[in-house]
Amino acid sequence: MMRALYTAASGMQAQQYNIDTISNNLANVNTTGFRTNLARFQDLIYQELRAPGTPVGASVVAVAQDVGLGVKIGSSEKQFTQGVLNQTSNPLDVAIEGDGFFQVTRPDGTIAYTRDGSFKRDANGSLVTADGFFLSPQITLPAAATQVSVGQDGTVTALVPGSVLPVQVGKITLVRFTNNAGLAPQGQNLFTETAASGAPTVSTPGINGAGTLQGGYLEQSNVSVVTEIVNLIVAQRAFEANSKAVTTSDQVLATAVQMKAGA
């Protein structure tokens, strides 16, 4: 069978994957702290029709003749560019401006990382994510605390009864990774550490390259709708073009078969 059939099929699969990725980005356009994925592709191996160096009379073939066998998925790298900060006026909404992640403890005790700083107070006054996962290190606000605010360096202050000035009730720390793109997305706006991301480095917001915190703001998704729609159009046309190569290969094979029937 013709190589072109399988080559074009690999092209269609790649574009299908591209469209899947774009759809997920578009679906998460309003997800707090979401990071857009960018599908990247690589060419597959090449089949040699004639190797360079093949003797031709007294000389040798100077250049190769080869035909490529299609495309494969290279990566779907998360793009860790800054998202727009959106004011919410909720003092427990915290946005990271710059590099870094919040640490949260999942119910099974493992640590996960997130850019989504929409924290809530649970029944005991502890700061938790929307899913109820504790912020790590854990911060518990006194029961009667009012006027809670988060400073740029992560200091959480509140006004407690019997005190005129706000007092520090906790400190939010950030973690940084050598290679953010190597983190494994877990859904629920969470990431986990992998061998590719490197080990987390805990740091105070604003120190050693870590971003600063903005209380009362949430970081929006960094998906650009216009870019995604343009990519979607391109992916669809590329898919169609590859399907044309399949149709053409099919017709060519049919022509070859009919040669026998028509004679």
Binding site: M2, D43, Q65, V67, T178, T248
Partner: protein
């Protein structure tokens, strides 16, 4: 056969319309060796009617040349510049000009136009497959653990304005001997063929798109298909003619005798 290979190649170009830094392949076709055709005028030893003597040598009249088909001459890569798309990623670099990045993997040094690099856990600049990106001297590039990385158009890398490394960009003097190796890598099969590049400019935060374009490929595909069709017609016609010749043998009513 050549038309079929041509369709395979176009399909590969189409499959890679979204591949970063992909360079499309072209096919150059040549005719297979021609053979000279002569018409026998007389055989040696045959009577030459007009003079009543015998000819001592054969006499032939040159008729022309007969082709025996087409074959692939070369499948060169077209290194035309691809369009540059902004990604906003500090470790994405697009090349504008004829240079290549050099990377080292287990097999040796390879060249690529795909500048979508990442930082590995050891702070080394690598491709997405983990192949180390090389500087102009052929050494690995170690990124400072923190700070904003910027690059000028010559590939000089700075962190917070302080230079620390220079991305290697190389020219291939004879691009014809550069072969696609898969995974967006090119292998230089020539020796002493690579020189440091001085003319290519680098764009940070961008990637070079494939130079395979859909419209051109579809047109090529139509042409290749018609070409294939036309050749099958020749085979069919030849087959019909042969069939007729076979069936006409011994048929006394249609022979001219």
């Amino acid at each position: 056969m050549v038309a079929e290979n041509n369709i395979d190649m176009i399909a590969n170009n189409l499959a890679n319309v979204s591949t970063i830094g992909f360079k499309r392949q072209m096919m150059q076709i040549e005719s297979q060796p021609l053979s000279d055709v002569y018409r026998w005028q007389s055989d040696p030893g045959s009577a030459v009617a007009t003079q009543g003597t015998l000819s001592s040598t054969a006499s032939q009249a040159y008729v022309g040349q007969l082709g025996s088909g087409a074959e692939i001459y070369d499948t060169p890569t077209n290194f035309e510049q691809g369009t540059i798309e902004v990604t906003g990623n500090d470790l994405d670099f697009a090349l504008y000009g004829k240079g290549f990045f050099a990377v080292r993997n287990a097999q040796g040094i390879r060249y690529t136009r795909d500048g979508s690099f990442v930082r590995n856990p050891a702070n080394i600049l690598t491709t997405i497959d983990g192949d180390a990106v090389l500087d102009q001297a052929g050494n690995l590039i170690v990124l400072p653990p923190q700070g904003k990385i910027t690059s000028n158009t010559a590939g000089q890398l700075n962190v917070d304005g302080v230079p620390f490394a220079k991305l290697g960009v190389f020219d291939v003097t004879n691009p014809r001997v550069v072969r696609s190796n898969g995974s967006n890598l090119l292998l230089d099969s020539g020796t002493g063929n690579v020189t440091p590049d001085l003319t290519t400019s680098l764009v940070q935060g961008a990637q070079e798109k494939s130079n395979a374009d859909v419209v051109r490929s579809i047109v090529e595909l139509i042409i290749a298909q018609r070409w294939f069709d036309a050749n099958t017609k020749v085979i069919q016609t030849e087959d019909t003619a042969t069939g007729l010749a076979i069936s006409a043998v011994g048929n006394t009513t249609s022979g001219t005798g």
